[in-house]
Subunit: 344 residues, 4 copies
């Protein structure tokens, strides 16, 4: 089969790879019809996430089940399915608490040996372990692109605001308007936020946020704190999302949150960083952090996509084919698109 593989920093290839076979009773094999290129894929592309040359990459996927082990009961051969970007066992301490993203046995598609040696989904076929947990049937009428989003980016946007406790009528700020930030904007609106303030420095992204119903504020040319002050009753938002993963963004989120508000950190941190603990503490802020519980939110996100409460079409800027992957990565790296879908 054909598969997109990492070669060296800045270079991916489309190669012939052996077809996967289900081995465990709860494995399934999916014929991938569409896969997405995601911000995390760029980390691999740039060599910031170490991965073996020749390893198949990609972790967003929608397709059709072509084989399933005996213990697979949630989906069956022929089902059109989508999957989450990682697997979960369903029975460990963390899964039993519904914190699937912290499963002791979690494996991430397309991230090499460090995250479980699970070949990626930018390929004609993908092996999906723990299929009962990892796959879900695509609701009637849902497009491939929408289904792709549910298993990763939109699940993260939903998590950013719902896991942070946003209630209908609350105010929300989103710092960083990449795909995750824009999904957070959409989720906040769909969850009933009265005002969403969206902060970035890229005009296109601000424009998209505005089209999604947010108050778009340029992070440098304008003053996000002044904007939040004028748009909220108490001079700060109930939920401030850091969708960047950089101390400057966190600092902004801390400053935009109201007293006793929540800072929601979905942007990735890997190192020590200076944090204004004094402001955090005197405001009495709550913080949630870490990978989103995409698997836990999947039913809700799918239901909202299927009924039009969430609509990701403004975010899909390009469709290409699997064979175009090298060009697609280069284009995505040049930020020419918010999301590229690779069709089989």
């Amino acid at each position: 089969m054909r598969a997109v593989t990492f070669q060296e920093p800045g270079r991916v290839a489309v190669e012939e790879r052996p077809e996967p076979e289900p081995l465990a009773p709860d494995d399934a094999v999916v014929r991938v019809e569409a896969s997405g290129i995601c911000g995390s894929d760029l980390h691999i592309y740039h060599g910031r996430v170490q991965i073996e040359p020749g390893f198949t990459i990609g972790h967003e996927y929608v397709g059709t089940v072509v084989a399933a082990g005996d213990a697979v009961t949630g989906v069956r051969e022929g089902d059109r399915v989508l999957g989450t970007f990682h697997t979960a066992c369903g029975t460990c301490f963390f899964c039993r608490r519904g914190v699937y993203q912290k499963c002791d046995e979690a494996r991430v598609f397309g991230h090499g040996a460090t995250l479980g040696s699970l070949q990626g989904t930018q390929a004609e076929l993908a092996l999906v372990p723990r299929a009962n947990m990892t796959l879900r049937r695509v609701p009637e009428g849902l497009s491939d692109a929408a289904a792709l989003f549910a298993g990763d980016v939109m699940g993260t946007g939903y998590h950013a605001v719902v896991a942070a406790g946003l209630k209908p009528g609350d105010t929300c700020a989103v710092v960083g308007l990449g795909p995750v930030g824009l999904c957070a904007v959409m989720a906040a609106r769909a969850a009933g936020a009265s005002r969403v303030i969206a902060v970035d420095t890229v005009a296109d992204r601000l424009e998209t946020a505005r089209a999604l119903g947010a108050h778009a504020v340029h992070g440098v040319e304008e003053d996000p704190r002044a904007a939040v002050k004028s748009l909220t009753e108490v001079g700060g938002v109930d939920v401030a999302v850091d969708a960047v993963g950089h101390p400057g963004a966190l600092d902004t989120a801390i400053r935009l949150a109201r007293k006793a508000g929540t800072v929601s950190i979905v942007g990735v941190y890997a190192e020590r960083a200076e944090v204004h603990m004094g402001v955090l503490w005197i405001k009495g802020l709550n913080v949630i952090s870490g990978h989103a519980n995409v698997m836990g939110h999947l039913d809700s996100v799918l239901a909202m996509l299927a009924t039009g409460r969430l609509d990701v079409s403004p975010l899909v800027s390009r469709e290409m084919t699997l064979e175009d992957a090298p060009d697609a990565y280069a284009a995505y790296d040049r930020r020419e698109a918010l999301k590229i879908v690779l069709r089989a």
Copy 2:
């Protein structure tokens, strides 16, 4: 001043009454510019709620502060304000827990001696005790009718679904499509419900619910359980609202809820009733009941009305004047309108 008073079952009058004066340091007097007629007013009109003849009725109001005691800090003279249907002290055991509707000192406007001897707001002037808790400034640009709704019916609709724990993507059924039920439909949509199933037997109300985005189901000519089965993944809704207050409606709500779902009872119960405890128990349902925490939800509801996330205009079917009150009550009693606003 002119005021609408209860005379005897089926008869209200517009009479001259003495103007109120603020007595306590946290009292205010409001010049009422618009007041609403509500379902609860009909209970008085029909003599089902006992009240002294000559007592001023009404409990929904928007107007301007014309006097305020020394301890009133939340609003000031000249402010355009709305108020909740009841007062709360802010400091008792229940207020300290934010359960304002159960305040030990709560008094309800226009309900006679049994609910605190507080004259009603269908009058030119209204005395408002506990003004810091009871009054709130009307946000810029909000219509009188919208403000009226915030302090009673829409607060109840919001409570029906939000206090029941509805999360974005959840499914919801609303049994009974009077003003409260329709507000619950709106609130559920605004809170991100993926599907709202609305049940009633009156064609107009079903039509309004449909216009608000619900799946409207006739309670007798159609089969609500079959509708819910076909529209939900697990054969029942996450939240089922009884907006009627009748054992038949409760029975329907219990049957429409999914296993481990929530039944939200905002319809009023005053007596013993037969409940299908077996179905409730075997499904493992949760129940919330009682008056809505309108005061607790007021900021959120106002913010949603002010930013257009909630829009009550489809529910305001008629505007009349205070002097028209006898005709207005008669029309409301004939169900000719969902909401009648009386202008000063």
Copy 3:
């Protein structure tokens, strides 16, 4: 192997039965070292729960794993384990929300065809499906009797108060002091309840409750409402548990709860019943109902038993052998013991 089987109402037998074999990859077989007789077993004994003659009964068990399928990863051969009274799949809609007691594939041990045709655990060997979910290793130092309780009755007592939202310092009333009620008393104390009022009409049970730290009140000779009034700041308790499953007990629980309190119904209801909806509604009570989420609480309950925060020894009134089962059932039926443990 030897097994306790239902014969006809009022009669159980100890018979020779075929040894179970693991069939599915996530099945295990447990050599049962101790099993309990529970109130639910009496329903079978009395013929109120229909079950096939010759079916092995019992659902509380502790023992050693003697065989395990390939997919069993949570426990292994030779482990000393306890199990919950029912199985759960871990992957359905309800399991994904952690509501394991409502699993779409749940099967209850020893309850015949109606609850999943799963042979009981009052036997030398038991087949345990879904072993990853259903079995847990017994913590070091925990007695057989304590382990038995964790998988059923103590899990229910914990659920009765913790799922009802009891917070440290809250007050609690427990109506009905059978094993579940007494476990609720213990759980409430261990969870930091400032006062626990325990209501029953049996002197022994009241005495046990008193020894566990509760204020014991005779339900007929004393006035539970007066007791609660004198012992609580606001004339009612934060959480009122109905541990009986009878309209009279529910009525008492509703009357003992404070305004905006919670009624927790762990007693079993199977039919329609008259409920004082007027009192429930005007108080604004919340209700939780249904089978306890024993599987969801299992880690917590085991940790509390293992560290002595919960101590079930006052409840184990008799130990007998499997061969004594007919006598044991008769004694339990005469209420001579709160809990009888059958040893292999």
Copy 4:
């Protein structure tokens, strides 16, 4: 009247000061019978918190109401009362959400102009604004020392674990065993924690923690992470409390928490600090921070003290008189006592 006043860093005096008079309708005056010296007082004593020379200090107090304004309804003249360390208005945005510690009008006793110019309570008489919110009657039988703790340090210990979501059976680590840390240990035990690991470097404090039921671990001579690993099922605790307010303590708390656990920061931060965001994020931790909601927890804490569920007597190491204040501060500064109570 006699009052303890700040003079200069390292020096307090007992001086004659004018008696306070109630000015606002919701003011009260309390004859202080006992006041406490707290860690925050040392910040003033050391000049780290700037305050006007001659300003009366102290913020823990129990006494008798000797005067009350017209609007004071919660307590009356002659009542034995305790108070919280700060006032709250009860009606602002934050009070309406029950976040009393962030009240827009909050004033802290004995902290000079920067925190509201409210004279302290280490005096014969204290003016208490917002008496309905700030004062509570002392439950029958509660000692002065216990009542003192309720309004500040024990309320903070309760907050540290309960606001962090600790559930019965959970595990907890407390880093820093000053009075607040030890109160957190007690609160965790009383709330049903299965294991509490207490970390400090002072032998006496470790001994006290051990006596309170904790596993005491020396922060330098032993390895807290190894201790937590051996005592918890998943290699980390559910709730890790930073009761110090120093980056090293926060780092330890972050490392002791389990994946998806909660770090509870009750230690005070005033500046920027380096935080291991990488560990925080990859673990997916939640954080709560800031002043404790002592007023919100007051009913619960008082009920637990009054019924013996919490017992602060091990923490009160010395009783002195108001006139001894200079010696008392010097002794407290030398860490000769965990808590000193000054009697009038």
